[in-house]
Amino acid sequence: MIVADLLFFILAAVMIAGALGVVLSRSLYRAAFCLAATLVASAVVYLALTAPLIAAVQILLYTGGLLTLVVFALVVSGSTDNPQPWRRPVPALVVAVLVGVALMPIAWQVGGTGAGRGGLDDGVELGVLLFTRYLVPFELLSVLLLAAIFGALTVARRERQA
């Protein structure tokens, strides 16, 4: 139990350090890779939450896909120098801290201290749920992805036609 707690604290430290890196680093490449570190660390937390499938999707699709897209956009635009990366940081900090403090009671209200029931590792059951009870959201999602592809293509190509 102590080992698990220690592991969780290490992961939490990595995630928070990565998040701070995203927000504070001047280089956007570094920010992107800090985000990747945070996402991979949360994938490990998902593993500990008995959800290996979600962890795999998180690493493959979320981290890999997102990092590729962002780095591609950075390379294409070539705009990574950032002499003044923040704009009015103090009010933003105040708002962020206030929102965080306001949300904290939820953690104490909802969160029990006992161990979770788990049972998120049943891939077969997940697939059955996906194609029976949640079929409509699944199909809507595929339509959304199609719309996103067309939208991205249209938005990025318009300049050439004009």
């Binding site: 705009s79 999602l141 996103a148």
Partner: protein
């Protein structure tokens, strides 16, 4: 590892991401901070699903990841458009609609 700790972690990550969205100037940096907030929300959802033993929560996270990636694709193409057409990469320079 308890649900309380997971929720606290996700709230901290959410607040950091919110700070980034509000304070960063570069459009891609804002997108990255937005991803941080999405990831915090996913973590909270999966934590609650784990606590209750509810498989549908894992499905919500799956849907959320897919929607997020679609949103990033759109956001990045908007960024490229703004950068090519207007030569603008910072959010505070796009102020045409300001009264």
């Amino acid at each position: 590892m308890t649900l309380e700790r997971i929720l606290i972690l996700s709230i901290v990550l959410f607040a950091i991401g919110l700070f980034g969205v509000l304070a960063r100037r570069h459009l891609i940096a804002i997108l990255l901070s937005l991803e941080l907030m999405f990831n915090a929300a996913n973590l909270a959802i999966l934590g609650i699903a784990w606590h209750r033993g509810c498989l549908a929560g894992a499905l919500i996270v799956l849907f959320g990841i897919a929607i997020t990636v679609a949103e990033v694709a759109i956001g990045l193409s908007l960024f490229l458009l703004a950068e090519r057409v207007r030569g603008v990469v910072h959010a505070d320079e796009l102020s045409d609609l300001r009264g």
